[in-house]
Amino acid sequence: MKYKSVFDIIGPVMVGPSSSHTAGAARIGLLGRKLFGHTPDHVDIHLYGSFKDTYQGHGTDVALIGGLLGFDTDDSRIIKAKEYADEQNLRTNFILHEEERSHPNTAIVDLLKGDDRLKIEGISIGGGKIELVSINDYEINISGNYHSLLVFHKDTFGTIARVTTVLGNNEINVSQMNVSRKEKGDIALMTIELDEEISEAVIQEVENIDGVERVIEMADD
């Protein structure tokens, strides 16, 4: 089930006017910032479908920028997010697309700072709830009922076994696992859904595994 909490329905507390186009947009920005790990210098924001058609009226643009700056859905600074972005030297560029994506409320956020780059595709499914569709063009398939680890790793033999061994040694049970790659021998993405929460120490251990490039923990907010 997509919605798990009563507070997905009665909530969030937010700055108007739209839960999907304002609060959801802020959450896509926030998720981008969280996964990126810091404030970017430059962000290209691609809008599709209803996001593209109505972003001005809904404050989707300022909400996305606000989220990228770390403002939550109920933070009134969202209204003046463009001014705060100028203060923090965050440049944003909005690109509108006619093409249709999987969901009418889609935003692709491409974050840059120096050599660091992260691109996420988020969809806003209603009531402020969002889902992550892809990271760096790797499709993400998370059912959403569990804690998940996203492990970017070199596409060579043995890496997957080494990761699952670390989890097993720490008595962490895997409920579902999926590996995707763009080209053989390139970087691949392991999506691992877990039955229980994972500690910082175990994440660190996974990060230290030979062949692992980057680990991202996904948990419900």
Partner: protein
Amino acid sequence: MFNSIAQLIDMANSENKSISEIMIEQEMRVSKRSYLEVYQDMERNLDVMQNAVDEGIGGVASKTGLTGHDAVKMKKYIESGKGLSGDMNLLAIAYAVSTNEVNAAMGKICATPTAGSAGVVPGVLFALNEQRDLSKEDMVRFLFTSGALGFVVANNASISGAAGGCQAEVGSASAMAAASLVEAAGGTPEKSGHAFAIALKNMLGLVCDPVAGLVEVPCVKRNAAGASNALTAADMALAGIESRIPADEVIEAMYKIGLTMPSALRETGRGGLAATPTGNRLMQEIFGDE
């Protein structure tokens, strides 16, 4: 977790509990939090709703000027004593409009289930409170009941105007509010289910056609209609009137109607009222030729 209205009502009956209690207990299990923590979160949401109602009744307007100050007009009209429908209905309209005027002005609101439909549930709740002087706990429970019904809609259909039209937003909100009204008035879980089904049926097919893509016209007034419709459905269910079509099938019908709705009528600002001569002119005035 319950996944249908029928299951929700069964659980309430077999455990001899109200819908709000079933919702609170599920939330405690899912979030692994205590009763007090879950309760207090909802109490905070209630406080946000109260503040929004107060702010709107005091008079607010959006940046574009398309909406605002209508809650003030309603309040004066109620005070004049010349209203056609009863005070409860008029108050619900005033508070629903009030909340959505605050939303349109980018003020702080609580999505129920969405921001565009955030006036309906608080509208009837604060109106009921004035008539029946509810305890704060009753008011918090009212929101859990609404949440339980909305939870089923969100997981089986949609609460997004872009996906399902306004029926998914104001329609869902109106049905949620109707079920809560019945529980607050002492009705059984079955009667809440009928009120929910009747309210949602009356909103089927409603399109999302916001002028200039703003959550203003017709959204604010549709929240008033959603609140009135909730009161109508709740009174009918409390009178013993039943929905011929079961609540879960109404949800499924709404979902399928949403799937067949053209995208011009799903929150793109390209069809319906948005595409009328006046709708187009307003858009020009607000955004120019962009």
